[in-house]
Symmetry: D2
Subunit: 382 residues, 4 copies
């Protein structure tokens, strides 16, 4: 009989909801050594928090996130707040002896990220996790396995982009357009995901940023208080080129104004022996090109990554081609966290603060390259 | 404050699991006038049932399904058993005054279906529902709206197929290959879905079966008891042609041996003004062709049916293009049932026993056409 | 040094143009044992014929097609006229000792087709050819090779359709809508192609028509002489189901009113070991599913059929993925005819009158099944 | 009656063949004010040249290209030789008073390109043309029209790549891998095309290169003379980021080692009102997203660019969706050149030496950015 894993959550917005669902669903579909217990949820708006807690089955709620730190029954704290709050909250929780699962990106600034990483290093052995959910799409996890198995040989090209189109000129000056809260725009929100995916799938690290563009197309937006317009202080789009330690070259692009793309998170890798392609808008598929196949029938193979015996996570869900959706990445991650905290292996490697800090360094280096208008070796960014 | 809706479930296999998930998830994502209470689950294998009940949060469990009929607290009974059990169970529940939600197809035989329909007609006003889950994919529900709005004009062609490939010669003689249990093979399992979808989307009824083929490719299969081989008594594939009352002509095909298709449930409609196409393997998309569009830019439009304000059910889930999966059709259906039992309108029309009986008649007529080797007017099948 | 192959052509419309282009282009891209010489073209409208002959390099022209029969220099006669003229012209040419290449379908009626086949049988050894051009798309020719090589095992399903949308109610009463000239509507025009393709790729013959629908949606059309409306005497769409001698079951559909499909000629085959799919609107691709592939990476393979060393005809054209178009099927066929008349093997088998007559029988049987509202064994149609 | 346009061609390899075909086919499909006359072809290998001239209908041939300059009957000289020969040949022809149509890129070096542009400026009014064939794919020409018509608003993103995979380590040290002959590798060969397409479709110019990578993955290749290995002195892949004068930001990538891509020439534009996408491997399609469309049915529209009355060049070819291939871009270009030299307007704008020189400057600036590891304003490259 498994001991429950008592969890505290901070945040009740988009990510609060996605994480609550993940903790609820994980034990429905996975046999877990530790079963999540939704103990305490915290958020500032109490009027909204009460029904939120009821809806998702949180046993208790509080307007004060420090209550979670002080609650001795809680083992794991899940942070789903805006980026500028991650550091303070995560460090406090680590100091209180909790495991921490923090929403991505690790932080709004590299300074914050560095402090979080330091706190994780000096804590008493607790685990840290960062919610890079796309690693746990079966297709992405399969891509990682195929690369590790040498199926595409040495990686030469990495081509990643994450395009959305919700941030046209009619969207007002939300906190997401303010640097002090968000750190950056499309960059931290979207490039964070694809840098993590690229690092995860290749198993390689970026050595250098070879050039970058950060662009704010919509320079002013309507203020939320109705008092005219205010400046957007974040990027709408960031592109950058990279060289990996292993010799591959890469391109990364994030945009919030790419008309026609609502959540187009894509990555392609070309290696000496073959290629792989993923597009989240058709997330159950992985495309594989085996350069060594019979040239008469060789071609990109459309792998429906839902075969229970053969594809990561697939066996826990439905029969073949009874497809999965967005939220399943989070459920798979929640299950992997429960496994790790119960002494088992996760299906796919879980990013910790150290790992997410490396992603954050890449993002920082890219912005620096855009600003300095030159190549930036990663060694320049600590 | 909503009154809970107390539910009893029969069955703990694939559908027992899908339905349990639906009842759990519906109140997480929908504001419901009646909130499901998972009260009592029944299935023959008690050893499996106990952990099943625990996993999915069923308050009580029993090896005897009649316990549900006798439990006065239960308002709605959900039937997820093999086809040959539907009639006995559903009729008993209706007689006990329960609402009934029955897995599709309505029954294994038309005779059973007729009895169920009669029981529904003479009961004291309870509601009946049949789990044709694909109606509640947002793309399918949107297709129905667009046809009803006249966007494609008068429907002329209906082209539906449901292809799977799991039933090769190595698969043993499961109950699914035995007529006495399953009623039919691919026909009742898969054609049932696409006949329902075609009737739902067009809002029209089939007037005649113009021809049909029923084929068993794998005539003998290994017996489960290891004693050699036994005959498969069901079809592996059934194709048929139809005429609709409104003048459209259609083709339907179901197969379990169509290599390369795991769950390829597709339907296309061509009307006088435009066309629509759906493929479950890319279930978040609906393809629309507007014949009246500017011919310079006219073409099939790839609608990502995830825009909260514009597409059925989408607003209850995630942001745009944060795609849904297989199970969401069931959750959407559970929510619609709760709405209807709470006096509200469902998002998309819910099939009752009368409606599902019409689908069953079509299936019967198709088999008759295959056997008689001639056209069969629907009026010939009662 | 090759002897020229002297050609006479009848017809200067769509097919006159496609064939003229094919005879011009074949020697540019193929090394041929006989090089086409465009000797004499005939058509009724002399005013149009003169510039046509000049444009395409025909040495002479005549308003009287019998001039070709009487011209002793001409070895091969190419017939590109409406269906009701094929028999008279082809038989005359065979009697005059010419080889004949006739546009498809072989004829407008089965009676005509039978007479043509008889004339071919009793002639003095000349060759006959029928312009089923799609056989010679590299992807279709490759499909035939893969089936013959056993790559998909025994064929179980054949699924073919040819959809167009040009024949809405605003199109006037052209000869194509008059049975006496066209024989039939979408059926002879489009089903002819896909029946030929199915027979070619499978290498099998249809044993029985299991049911059929022939439908005229637009019953009256504006007369070309402006005098009100006249009746369309042909089908707009024909669907039928078939059983093949080898045990496969099939469906065929042709329509001219399927909005959104301009030239959607598709065929799919599912066998015991794998599957193949072709769609002319993306004609350079063949999709292949190898059921025996590693299930971890197995999936439909997108074969770009343009690799010179590996794919039929590809080596005669451009580098890999420098894609081909519609007319290339005709050029490939012209080249194969020149090869055969020069004593060489064609790349893909060429249909003769006997072969095309078998296709015509299938078309006739399908119409009979639609009319009689029952299954029709092919043995019933002579 | 039109006066013939007498043409001389230099080169008999891939481009000699593509151009010969274009001059032959243009008058078959277009009504031209000047009809090409294939007068004189020149190439060094006389043994190959004779059959080449015969096959393609060149009236005369010569091993000495200067014979064309000295031939007074020739009006237009078509240059299809390696990049390092363009300048000498083109300048000689301009000085001899000929119109010149030169294969792309304009030259192997910017210095050569500059000299060619100067020669074009000071000649006696002859026309110059550069064979950027992809401009004349109907889908690309349509994209240009839609952008010019304001259909996608102000362009914000340009995303272009041209991927091939033929240059693996087994390919020997061809002239294409030697800088002195080729100028560069994938860059001049492939990026040249997509820079031209981007400039053509947007109607905008690049203001700055923001960063670049030039990479040679295969550093040594087998020498053709069998004497061991020699160094490849060109790039296998070049990526760069750009800013356009109008404010758009762009990325460009060319590779010859991207496994699975044989001729993947793609461009996408996102504007304030909509988006466009093109992929040469499915060249008859243009994808269009109209951001202003009804959000209920809005989506990427698959435009089959073959509608005679509506799409550029389509009316000269076949019925709708009777698709075109690679060579048609060349034929369309040959037709446009004949039109321009006959005093008519081309369907799509023709690039002259001045225009192609601007593309060359961009390529040069990109290489400079890669070498200098910093941003390069275009003003720095003359």
């Amino acid at each position: 009989m498994s001991t429950p894993l008592s969890i505290g959550l901070i945040g009740q917005k988009f990510m609060g909801r996605a994480h609550s669902n993940a903790w609820n669903q994980a034990p429905h579909f996975f046999d877990l050594p530790r079963v999540p217990r939704l103990e305490l949820v915290s958020a500032r708006n109490l009027r909204e928090l009460k029904p939120f807690a009821e809806r998702w089955g949180w046993a208790r709620f509080s307007a004060e996130w420090r209550d979670i730190a002080e609650d001795e029954t809680i083992e794991l704290v899940d942070i789903g707040t805006p980026n500028d709050l991650h550091a303070e909250q995560a460090i406090a929780m680590l100091e209180a002896g909790k495991h921490v699962a923090c929403e991505k990106p690790l932080a709004g600034t590299l300074e914050d990220a560095r402090a979080m990483r330091a706190a994780a290093k000096k804590c008493k052995g607790q685990k840290t996790f960062v919610w890079f959910n796309y690693r746990r799409c079966p297709a992405v996890a399969l891509a990682q396995q195929l690369v590790a198995d040498g199926k595409i040989g040495e990686v030469q090209h990495v081509r990643a982009s994450y395009l959305q189109d919700w941030a046209g000129p009619d969207v007002p000056l939300l906190w997401r357009f303010q640097k002090k809260h968000a750190g950056s725009g499309a960059h931290g929100d979207l490039n964070a995901h694809i840098v993590d995916m690229a690092r995860f799938i290749t198993g390689d690290e970026i050595k250098e940023i070879n050039g970058a563009i950060a662009k704010t197309f919509v320079k002013e937006r309507k203020r939320l208080d109705g008092k005219g317009k205010g400046r957007s202080t974040v990027d709408d789009a960031v592109l950058f080129l990279t060289t990996f330690k292993g010799g591959a070259i890469g391109s990364f692009e994030a945009s919030r104004v790419a008309q026609g793309h609502q959540n187009r998170n894509t990555i392609e890798l070309n290696g000496t022996k073959g290629s792989l392609k993923f597009d989240f808008e058709d997330m159950n598929l992985l495309w594989y090109y085996d350069g060594g196949d019979d040239p008469k029938t060789r071609g990109w193979q459309r792998i429906m990554c839902t075969a229970g015996e053969h594809h990561p996570y697939a066996g826990n869900w439905w029969p073949d081609a009874h497809v999965l959706g967005y939220e399943h990445g989070f459920v798979n991650m929640a299950a992997d966290i429960c496994k790790v905290l119960g002494g088992e292996q996760p299906v796919a490697a879980l990013p910790d603060f150290e790992d997410a800090y490396q992603t954050q360094r890449v993002l920082e280096a890219a912005l620096l390259a855009a600003k300095e208008r030159c190549a930036i070796p990663m060694s320049q960014v600590k």
